[in-house]
């Protein structure tokens, strides 16, 4: 009796233990099922996009740049474009079959250009269209440590043909089983025996999901049991649609560098450069076919295998009456239509990416960036970016040819921004731009050399009752006690130039005149001006700052010049336009913000002096017509012992700053003109920026003055120049020597031309 009791007790104990163990196992698996399905699967890295190119009537676009952009977006040039991703360009007419992006539907459009401007856009029916939008390029993401990349699809975004194809190939009984299907296993076995190869797998979609979510690929009984339990639990917790959606978003499709491509949304982007909703039946068949062996059937690496597998899937669809026999016959001969592999790479432009990342970290936690699937629309112009990188690299090659291999490790940085709204269009932080590492555009803090001068001169011109462009400056020897030493600045040509008008001292970049001017206006005024222009850095109290010992990063320097190029309106530089969540709602935007910091009149004077660098100074080489069309202006900078070569210049709507030098700060053979300006010139000549509207400044008046004494002169006098003044500040005195030439009568034709000039240049109101 006692024995029996003991046995039943032991049996009971064992039974309870087993039950407890099973319950515990189920609980553990259940926890993993729910936490993984609700966690990892729905984590999507933030994606960073370039600006989408929008074409609308009146948009300025250089045709060469347009073609380059299409090429970067992997659009293919064909005779008659008739499917997404194709275009034809001839005689200023672009026919393009758009792939579609956001509210832009795919379709054929015809864009007529004239003088680098969009004249008209027509759709397939020949009706006028206001605006079309091309897809942006992905320039990188904020990937989690495991580098899984996906584009999350919601149920309404999943095309029916994708569902049909997946079910036909992977799990025909999906809607009828409870996670495990003995029917599927036996049918698959039978089919595979008939076909003589593995055409169908026996695992249900739920089992495949369970497998991919939790377990390694080892083939053990224990694993099979756990997989089965997990499948049942998944079916218990989630609806069929939820399971299918999880599967569609999670399947592994390819490895791209360090990045793992998961889900059909990302797969469509990765292989076809578009969203899943734009894919055709054969393209979907290709992706679904890849599930069986993502590497074996990778269409880029193994196109033959991929084609055979796709056709097998198409065959299954035809057998299941999902497509007609004739459609099958047509589709099986189609090409794969894969976009080139470099499209949508990991991180394309590290310097720009870096600036975006720093900006994002101000507003978002790292975890949110890596999981919330934010889409970050930036201002990057991929064509300008590529051109800027090439200009820097090719100029370096030229310089090495000229100066020898001592320039082999010459480094550089360059930034291009839109002068109206502060949008950062392109950035490089290295002469080998695709490499990660030291981003000189924001981290190289170097003496800015003569780039400081326009800022000092503007400080003076802003006091317009004291200074104008003809104010005489003194460029004779200067000795100053500074920090216990005698400071004696030199000019680059080691000469003294005596008394010269202010604008001449600037475009000739005379150091001594500039140092005296800085001392005259004083450190405090200079510091105030720096602050107004956007430089948030203390100005050290020693006179060499006035001729360029002041240190800035390229990024901070271009911010100050942005305020000048933008007519005195300070606009914080912006790399990001807006950030959207997965529903397409704007989560955060970086609006165009401006603040008038300097009056536009003194700015127009400094811009005039900077234009003289192009007409006769260190940036000469362009035709007068070109300079006027672009309203170009600039300044070269060379630091002490030629350790830094700088150029900043605006042309049309673009402001570009370039720095060249060595990381270890040793001497270069370069000046601002022979180094950085060459990069600027190569870039600007390549992109051919559009002109910007002239400003109306009724308080500005142009007067002929002498380039030596700065006094009033006349058109017919030698050595005279038409110089702008704020009305009332212009020189009035005409020296006796010029009385005759200055008042010499003009021919009637000249008078008429002058009047016309006055109307168009002076503005009204």
């Amino acid at each position: 009796m006692k024995f029996k009791l003991t046995i039943s007790f032991v049996l009971g104990f064992i039974g309870v233990s087993i039950l407890t163990f099973v319950a515990a196992l189920v609980a553990v698996i259940d926890f993993r099922v729910t936490s993984k399905l609700e966690g990892v699967l729905w984590t999507v890295p933030a994606k960073i996009y370039s600006r989408p190119l929008e074409l609308a009537e009146g948009v300025n676009i250089n045709p060469d740049n347009l073609i380059k952009e299409l090429d970067m977006l992997s659009y293919i040039s064909v005779k008659g474009p008739d499917s997404p991703g194709e275009f034809n360009f001839s005689k200023n007419n672009l026919k393009i079959f758009l792939r579609g992006y956001l509210d832009q539907k795919p379709g054929l459009f015809q864009v007529a250009l004239e003088d680098s401007q969009v004249k008209s856009i027509r759709n397939q029916l020949g009706l006028p269209e206001d605006l079309i939008r091309l897809e942006p390029t992905v320039i990188g993401g904020m990937y989690p440590a495991h580098m899984e990349d996906r584009v999350l699809l919601n149920w309404p975004e999943v095309p029916q043909k994708l569902v049909d194809t997946i079910l036909a190939v992977e799990d025909q009984d999906f809607f009828n089983h409870y996670g495990i299907s003995f029917k599927s296993i036996s049918r698959a076995l039978l089919k595979n025996i008939q076909a003589g190869e593995v055409e169908q797998g026996g695992s249900t979609i739920t089992q495949q999901l369970a497998k991919s979510l939790f377990f390694s690929s080892e083939q053990t009984i224990r694993r099979k049991v756990m997989e089965a339990i997990a499948s049942l639990l998944i079916e218990f917790h989630y609806t069929k649609e939820e399971i299918l959606l999880a599967y569609i978003n999670d399947v592994f499709l390819a490895q791209s560098g360090r990045r793992a491509i998961h889900g059909f949304g990302m797969g469509a982007q990765h292989f076809f450069g578009t969203s899943i909703s734009n894919l055709s039946t054969d393209q979907i068949a290709l992706l679904v076919g890849m599930l069986k062996g993502p590497s074996l059937y990778n269409p880029r690496r193994n196109p033959k295998n991929a084609t055979a597998r796709r056709n097998l899937v198409l065959g299954i669809l035809s057998k299941n009456n999902k497509i007609s026999v004739s459609a099958f016959e047509n589709l099986k001969d189609k090409g794969l239509g894969i976009t080139p592999p470099n499209y949508r790479a990991e991180i394309k432009y590290p310097a720009f990416h870096d600036i975006v990342r720093l900006e994002l970290q101000k507003n978002f936690a790292d975890k949110d960036l890596r999981t919330k699937g934010l889409s970050i629309e930036t201002n990057l112009d991929p064509v300008l970016q590529s051109s800027l990188e090439k200009s820097l690299a090719s100029t370096k090659t030229q310089l090495i040819k000229k100066y020898g291999n001592r320039l082999d490790d010459l480094e550089g940085a360059a930034i291009a921004v839109d002068i109206s709204n502060g949008e950062i269009k392109a950035v490089t932080g290295s002469t080998t731009p695709s490499s990660y590492g030291f981003n000189r555009s924001i981290n190289a803090i170097r003496p800015i050399g003569s780039l400081v001068k326009p800022l000092i001169y503007l400080t003076a011109l802003d006091k317009y009752d004291e200074y104008n462009l003809s104010t005489i400056l003194d460029d004779s020897k200067l000795s100053l006690a500074s920090g216990g030493e005698i400071w004696e600045p030199d000019n680059f040509d080691k000469k003294f130039h005596g008394k010269i008008p202010l604008h001449v001292a600037l475009w000739q970049s005379y150091n001594i005149a500039s140092a005296r001017l800085g001392l005259e206006v004083g450190f405090e005024s200079v510091e105030d001006m720096f602050l107004d222009l956007g430089i948030q850095k203390e100005v050290p109290n020693y006179p060499s700052v006035f001729i360029g010992s002041f240190e800035l990063s390229p990024y901070d320097a271009i911010q100050a010049y942005q305020t000048i190029a933008g007519d005195g309106f300070y606009t914080p530089l912006r790399s990001i336009r807006q950030i959207k969540d997965t529903d397409g709602e704007i989560e955060l935007s970086y609006p165009y913000s401006i603040e008038q910091r300097v009056r536009p009149e003194p700015i127009s004077l400094i811009k005039f002096a900077m234009q003289q660098s192009f007409v006769r100074g260190t940036a000469r080489g362009y035709s007068k017509k070109q300079i006027e069309m672009w309203n170009a202006g600039g300044k070269t900078g060379t630091s002490d012992d030629q350790r830094d070569s700088w150029f900043v210049g605006f042309a049309g709507e673009i402001l570009v700053l370039v720095w060249l030098g060595f990381d270890d700060n040793r001497q270069t053979p370069l000046t601002g003109r022979t180094g950085a300006f060459q990069v600027w010139k190569t870039f600007i000549d390549d992109i051919k920026p559009a002109a910007i509207p002239r400003t109306s400044l009724p308080r500005i008046q142009y007067v002929w003055t002498d380039m030596k004494d700065g006094l009033r002169s006349g058109e017919k006098c030698d050595n005279s120049l038409l110089v702008p003044f704020i009305k009332g500040t212009e020189p009035k005195f005409v020296p006796d020597v010029r009385k005759k030439c200055a008042t010499r009568g003009k021919t009637p034709r000249e008078s008429v031309m002058d009047k016309l000039k006055g109307i168009f240049e002076g503005g009204q109101g």
């Binding site: 929008e54 948009v59 309106f569 935007s589 609006p591 913000s593 603040e595 509207p693 009204q764």
Partner: protein
Amino acid sequence: MKVFAKFLALLSIFSIISCASNQNNRDISNYVVPVNDFSKTVELLISDKNFLEDEILKINSNNPSVQRIIKSADDYLRQENYIAANSELERAYRITKRDGSLYLRLAHLRYKQGLLKESESFASKGLLLLNISSWERLLLNVYLKN
């Protein structure tokens, strides 16, 4: 009284527009407006922001693409969705930077957002345009007086 003032104001507006809405946008300086009525209009524009908004939203661009975007921006503005309105205006601004209608809207939008300094700055920047009409010039000036 207010209705009468509005009537007077509109009358003077029409007389200005008849001179100034010439879309070549050259300033025509010798329009005839009774000084009293004119200053009443300005007063009303400054004091009655709804009236001002109505007037601003009537000004459109000559460019059809910009018109379409402006319409969408105006809809957002009326719904007080300022972020979306701004996003649309910036889109239009990328198409053309010489359109008074955009500066007016940006100045107005910033005003509504409570960013008075920016509102004033957009108005000042708009006033640097060569090709705006006298009416646009007058409206931009209203934002300098906030």
